[in-house]
Structure formats: C-alpha cells, structure tokens
Amino acid sequence: MNARSLLQRWFGRGWLSLGYLFLYLPIVVLVVFSFNSSRQDMVWSGFSTQWYGALANDAEIINGFGLSLKIAVMSACSAVTLGSFAAFVLDRYKRFTGRMLFSGMASAPLVMPEVIIGLSLLLMLVAVQKMFGFPERGMFTIWIGHTLLGMAYAAVVVQSRLQEMSPALQEAAMDLGCKPHQVFFLVTLPNITQALASAWLLTFTLSLDDVVLSAFLSGPGSSTMPIVIFSRARLGLDPRVNAVATLTILVVSIGVIVSSLLMARAERRRMAQVAAAAKA
C-alpha cells in the first residue's frame, strides 16, 4: 500500500471519528450528567441517582409522558395507514388529475418548517371549531397534526419498498386469477410488512419527540412531555431533564437495536426462502 492511499485511509477514519464524536457528544453529556449529584450544572461533583428519584415524583412529566405515549401510538397507526395509501398512489398511479398537487402535498411536510404547519393547522381548527363547536384543542388536535407530519415520512419509507418490489409478483398473482384487492392483501402487503414496521417506529418516535406542532395544537391541560421539557429547557438547565433524556435514550437504543436485529433476521430468512424457491 503506498503512502498516499494510507494517508487517505487515515484521513477518512479521522473524519468519520470526528463526525461521530460531534453527533454523539451531546448524548454522552446528557447521560453522564444525569448522574451528577450537584444541582450546579455541568460541574461534576459525584455520582448520584437523586434526579431519577425526583423524576418519579414529578407529576407534570409523568402525565406528559402518558399523554405523549397515547398520541404517539394513535398517530403512528393513522400516519402509517394514510402514508401507505399515499405511497401506493405515488408508486402505482402515474397519471391522474392532480397528481402533481398530490405528490407535492405528500412530501411538503418533510421539509416545511413546523412553525408554519402548526400555525396554519391551528388557525383552521379554530375556524372549524367556531363553525361546529368542535374540536377542542387537546389530544385530538395534536393527533391530527402528528398524523399529517408522520404520513409524509411513512409514505417515503413505504414507497421506497414498493419500488424495490418486482411487479412480476403482482402480475403472476393476477394471472393466477387474483382480484386486485386479493393481490394487495395476499401479495403486496406481506411483502411490505417490514417497511410498515419501520414506518410505524419512525412516526411513533417523531410524534413522541415533537414539540412545535404540539405546542400550537395543545390546549390547557394537554401538555405532552416535550412541551413540559421545552418549557423547562427555556428557563435553564434542569438535571431532571437529563434523567428523562437518559431513560429515553436507553429505551430508544434498546428498541432500535432489537428491531434492527429482528429485521435483519427476517430479511435473511426471506432471502433464504427466495433462494430455496429459485432452486426448487
């Protein structure tokens, strides 16, 4: 190996290491300082788990977490359903009136600043409420907002899987006499379950994490956990927030690692089945 390519290799490793350091530094800081005994922030003064204890008595955060969890489950389900519809439309129907508008609307929430989505949605919901006396701002309105945001992400994940899928599979099913809905339930759906699962997890965490949309759409008494954390973070540093962070990181890491292991296993099994089928 000559000197130049060796240099290049080490430069590459260095760049990647620094990049990962940058990405993980704040996470490490949150975890380490959640065990700090002093309230005086960011000066290490000894190991303690007192902030976890304080968390257990923090009704605001616990209630917020319960609400966030409910909304996240609900909006992940609705977002994945609507997102799959959208992905299906974008993948299958190349020509229909308003396709441009449709694809624009389906992907815009990916990049549209959340303040704008939140404000617009809130103003509409207020107008609807004036006309019909419904809906009150609260869990329901936050759910609508998170569904809108999550749907765009779910559509991207599901659509990329639909694209990888060979059309021959569906054609074969149709040749064998399947009706379109049978093709969908017997062929397409089993093939995209993995994508649906990752889309569900993604929209679930998006909802659990969202602060801007929730702040616009929440009403009195419906503060989600991010809203509670955000209002404390604005005031300054709060070691209980570090404890929340550490717990979230723990749960998410376990969830992501377990689910990616499961998915890798499912993928291997699928490949093995395909290979076996090809041989037979």
Binding site: G12, W15, G19, L23, P26, I27, V29, L30, Q40, D41, M42, V43, F85, A86, F88, V89, L90, Y93, F102, G104, A106, S107, A108, P109, L110, V111, M112, P113, E114, V115, I116, I117, L119, L121, L123, M124, K130, T147, L148, M151, V156, Q159, S160, P167, E171, K179, P180, T205, L208, D209, V211, P226, I229, F230, A233, L237, A245, T248, V252, V256
Partner: protein
C-alpha cells in the same frame, strides 16, 4: 401489465381519494385560511376578521394589504427575513462541507461495516431532537463543559462567551441538520459506479482531479437533495434559536411564534407565514422535482 395498471376503477378512485382528501383538508385548506386571514384586520374580540361583509343586500369585499405593508416597511421584519436566510445558508454550507466527506468515506468503507456506520448516523436521529439541542446548552455555557475543558488545558485564560450567540445557534443548527445532509449524499455515493474513477485514472487524472471532475458532478442530485432537506426547514427553525440563540440572532420562526403567542396578532402572524412560504417556494419546487425523479433517495 395492462391489467395491473387498470384495476377496477372504483377501487382505484377510492385509493386515490382517501389520502388526497386528507391532504386537502389537513394541509391545503389551512394554507388557504392563512392566506385569507393575512388580508384581514385583527378582530378585537380575538379570532377572525372577514374579507366579505353582506350589508343591505350588498356584498362588500375588503382586502387589507396593511399587514404586508407593515412587514415591508418595518425594518425589523425585513432584517429578520434576511437573517433567517443567512443562517439557513450558513448551516447548509457547513453541513455540506462536513457531511460530504463524511458520506464519501462512509460509502467507500468496507461493505460489511457500512450498515453499522449508517445505523450510527440514524441512531441520534431516533433519540429526542429537543433533548440533544438542550444538551448543547450545558456544553457551551459560560460554566459549561467546553469552557471547563479549555480552561483546564490552559488554552484560554477566562471562559469564552459562546451561549446565546450566533456561534451557538450555528453549532446547534449544523448539529441538528447534519444527518439530513449525510443520508441522501450517502445513498447517492454508495451507488456510484467506481469504474468511472478507474477510467478517469486511466485517462491520466490524479485522484483529486477525478474526485472534483467525476465524483462530485455524479453526486449532484444527492447534493441538491441534502441541501434542500437542510435549507428549507432551517429557514423557519424555531426550537434551536429559542434554546441556543440570543438577542442578536434574529430568526423568523421565533418572531412568528412571538407574534402569535405573545401578541396574539393572528392576521400579522398569517402575513409573516405567507411571506415565509413565498421565500421557500422555489427551494420547495426544486425539492419536489428531485423527489419525483428519485424518490428512493430522499429517505429522510
């Protein structure tokens, strides 16, 4: 094939109508209401003014441009729009400068470790954005970790003031948006046919020349996707300027928030929103065109 393209047209209509109706109601209609509201007066009773009044059998339509005139004449708003664009542009450039080599080295790593490298980029993205931004407060504060470190190393004599400046704002923005730059770039670079580089080298190009004249132009669509995924949301960012920015870092997302929640001026907040949408309309169109071409790469 034709059977696949044309399933029962009733089913097809239903499949299109469900998400279309939802998007029209939850996404398009709100913007039309905002547009409408931006041309009205503030209703002293709180809530909505109306463009049309129906008095004595005469329909009156009154379009107020005063909100927009106010925005154009008030120096603070003009400066805030410019400063938001400036910070979004700085963030995009820095993300590209850091993210391009990062994605490049990821894509050229051994295939066996690529999925792990990829998961390591995604993992912070799965943990709370809010909490990760909050952590930077502790790192950059006057009594924070970075100052402690630099003081104890003797690099500086007294704590640097980093929090609530444009420095802390840019750090936070680059940090939050870097994965959005890396992922589409990686998706693009990993698919590149390396034989082009061999061909370039056979034709006498040095590795550096090959990089600038082959690799970079081939990854153009990845660069555009990444830049749009960073720039557009960065223009209207609220949480980062609120937590890490200061009095000197004007951002339109924050002004919009204050106008709405503190001043309760809904028509003016609507006008501010409409102007932000106009500012990001061209980048949005670019993004959408790119998405239509290569939807699988835009994986955010």
């Amino acid at each position: 094939m034709s059977a696949l393209k044309r399933p029962s047209s009733l089913g097809r209509r239903f499949v299109i109508a469900v998400p279309f109706a939802w998007l029209a109601l939850a996404f398009l209609a709100p913007f039309l209401i905002v547009l409408h509201l931006s041309f009205t007066d503030m209703d002293p009773a709180g809530g909505f003014g109306s463009l049309t009044t129906y008095v004595d059998g005469v329909l009156n339509i009154k379009v107020k441009l005063s909100n927009y005139l106010f925005l154009a004449q008030d120096e603070l708003y003009v400066l805030t729009y410019l400063s938001s664009l400036k910070y979004a542009a700085i963030t995009t450039v820095l993300c590209l400068v850091i993210g391009y080599p990062f994605a490049y080295f990821m894509a050229r790593a051994r295939p066996a470790i690529r999925p792990t490298l990829m998961m390591l980029v995604m993992l912070p993205f799965w943990t709370s954005f809010l909490l990760r931004i909050y952590a930077w407060k502790g790192i950059l504060a006057n009594q924070g970790i970075l100052n402690h470190l630099l003081l104890s190393l003797g690099v500086i004599g007294e704590p640097l003031h980093m929090m609530n400046t444009s420095f802390s704002l840019v750090i936070g923005m680059v940090y939050a948006y870097l994965p959005f730059m890396i992922l589409p770039l990686y998706a693009n670079l990993v698919k590149m046919d390396l034989r082009y580089l061999e061909a370039a080298s056979d034709l006498g190009a040095t590795p550096l020349q090959a990089f600038w004249r082959v690799t970079v132009p081939l990854s153009k669509s990845g660069i555009i996707a990444g830049a749009m995924l960073v720039f557009i949301p960065a223009v209207g960012e609220y949480v980062i300027p609120e937590l890490l920015g200061g009095p000197g870092t004007l951002m339109i997302g924050k002004v919009l928030w204050d106008e709405f929640f503190t001043n309760n001026d809904w028509p003016l907040a609507s006008a501010v929103t409409v102007v932000v949408i106009l500012l990001i309309l061209v980048p949005m169109a670019v993004f959408n065109k790119y998405k239509a071409q290569q939807p699988a790469e835009g994986r955010a």
